[in-house]
Symmetry: C2
Subunit: 149 residues, 2 copies
Amino acid sequence: MTDPFDDTYFMKRALQEAEAAFEKGEIPVGAVIVIENRIIARTHNLTELLNDVTAHAEMQAITSAANFLGGKYLNKCTLYVTLEPCQMCAGALYWSQISKIVYGASDVQRGFKTLGTTLHPKTEVVSGILAEEASALMKRFFIEKRNLN
Amino acid sequence: MTDPFDDTYFMKRALQEAEAAFEKGEIPVGAVIVIENRIIARTHNLTELLNDVTAHAEMQAITSAANFLGGKYLNKCTLYVTLEPCQMCAGALYWSQISKIVYGASDVQRGFKTLGTTLHPKTEVVSGILAEEASALMKRFFIEKRNLN
């Protein structure tokens, strides 16, 4: 029997968050943080609404998960995020000592892999989960935005 | 006549913030953001109090300054921070398009220079302003912490 709580299951939840961002006119990136198969944070990008470049989905998820856990380290947690984290978010994930990062689409321009951001040595990284869906949502967002302007 | 509002003047204000962090048992890092010689954000590290690895002085300063300005870009602003920013903070400063970063002490282990974080091409960087004072405060903090444990 396959595990119902696999990476695809949780990435679908992150994609739902990305769709919520899309509906608000935000660049559609969503994230969830999971501990022992339980979602403890669900967030999406809010940089426009909050007028704040630090309001990426991952940053909010880190704050929210730490708040839930009552401690600032996330070393038993997994982050699912629809887009490859940027330098800022990867830098925050470094401090959080998160156990695992699973992302969907790659960000070849501004992703932490291209820019060489250092993660915590204990952090495992998995990429490409539901990447096409995440990427298609991003493309749709930018096409609609261009057509509106 | 010398300019009373030089880098040392504003770094002293950032050092006062670092001292406020020290008093709260936080790693003593302070920051101010300035636009046209006016301080629009004063913050200090609150990672312990808030249980949040993202609560560095710079991150709060970016959010606070953007809130004051009513817009998320800080391209006419200067950040003064007592310690060299980390990857996360430098990544956030990249997104903010801040005009200038002035820091005091270097962080040779976890600073953005060592770790190679990319800043916005328009961002100027000045270092070493009141570096000894900032560094002495950090050392005093870690000595006192060690003696308490």
